[in-house]
Point group: C3
Chain length 199, copies 3
Amino acid sequence: MFSILNIIELLGTIAFAISGAFSAMQKRLDAFGVLVIAFITAIGGGTIRDILIGYTPVSWMRNLHGPIVITITVVAAIIFKKYIKSFKVTLFLFDALGLGLFTLIGLQKGLDAGLRPVVCIILGTITGSFGGVLRDILLNNIPLIFRKEIYATACLIGGSAYFILLSFMNADWAKIVAISLVCSLRILAVRYDLRLPVL
Amino acid sequence: MFSILNIIELLGTIAFAISGAFSAMQKRLDAFGVLVIAFITAIGGGTIRDILIGYTPVSWMRNLHGPIVITITVVAAIIFKKYIKSFKVTLFLFDALGLGLFTLIGLQKGLDAGLRPVVCIILGTITGSFGGVLRDILLNNIPLIFRKEIYATACLIGGSAYFILLSFMNADWAKIVAISLVCSLRILAVRYDLRLPVL
Amino acid sequence: MFSILNIIELLGTIAFAISGAFSAMQKRLDAFGVLVIAFITAIGGGTIRDILIGYTPVSWMRNLHGPIVITITVVAAIIFKKYIKSFKVTLFLFDALGLGLFTLIGLQKGLDAGLRPVVCIILGTITGSFGGVLRDILLNNIPLIFRKEIYATACLIGGSAYFILLSFMNADWAKIVAISLVCSLRILAVRYDLRLPVL
């Protein structure tokens, strides 16, 4: 189970880094700017989570896998940028998978810190979606999270489902089902253009 | 004394949450976005303060009163939004009261951490006014705090007054007078359109 | 050595505070806004670094030299603003010196916390350049760091050079050379309008 989680987290990190790199290239930032935005998109949510919990030095300082993967990804994204655009659907699926995985990783970190379920769900949502919020703030956009198809809402629903599922199965299975739920909700929302009502 | 402070903090949280919810609705965010912006407006200042002091997990993770009150407030604000606009003056008064109270709560947390008076005054000001700064950054506005009638300046003056007042009365009374001072300054500033000079 | 570092840090703080104050005056903020932006420009990078490491209460709360120097600087900047504009070159040189010094101070804090070299280089870069990022976010600009001549890139190169130089000289000399390298790169970049390629 552990190594599968790691592989999916890796794919999620790659997808988030690519999404950050492409947003930065669209705004015509230089190579350093593209790297920084990709980095912040991929590790920003987890960093905010670690700071709020008080888990410092934050995760990417303890374990360099993230920064290394992100750097390689950005170099590859810059070199292959023409081709990657045609991987749009693949990328979107990775992003959805990363969203689900990051949500449950964040939720688990909250549990490890002895926090209440509702706080853990919020931490999962922050881990999954706030890297994108930081990206949008730095690029001077209103965060997309507040505008587009169901995104953070999928994290909230998946995180809540996890605690309900614990009544029916063990924690590992509950995580797998909750991750699948977040991914499916996100994919269905984009496929059928589902949005929350604007008030 | 403690329970009166709690009640006023509650009213301040409600006022800040409503102010965040209305700003978000004006920008036509969806229901989730409105909830997040209201949440960040109400707990953002205290969260930044807790992170700067190193008081983690941050307050709203330890005590769920805030998140619960904010959620109920947002649901009510969405349902009753037509009516609440006519409560404009009431809301403004709550906001001013919240500003005063949050300033002194932040200042007290600094004292509890053994920090110097001037740092405590800054922490009080951050607690009172930086939730609104985060709200404005997320909604892609220049923070209103830097543009409108005396706001954070009232926190600075009230916080400074607290330490002067300690020479004349006990800490509880000094707090009550300082809170009243922040509220009065804010109300007078809006009533008479007082602003600091633009440079 | 220690007192020279302190003096240069002082000059760097002054230069960053002036740069923040002028940016804020250009956006026609009031006196309080100018003070806050100057403060955040000068201590923002170090504050983010301290939070990421978990070194709290953050530095400017423990040692008031920074806040005092910044306040005096802002008052002076407001009074003498006509004259300071003609110091433009002097200011730019202080800013470049501050950038180099802050980079090595940040790197050293990472070493003190037992972090890996690459993390220390990132912390140095954050210390040198993220005060300006916060300034730009608060003033609702796309961070200049992502747009102008080599800036944070100079921090990255200087920080990396430090670890290479350790093979050839002792730590104090390596720091002095690395600081000079950051300053020189920054000055040459502006003098010859060097930029990283836009992607």
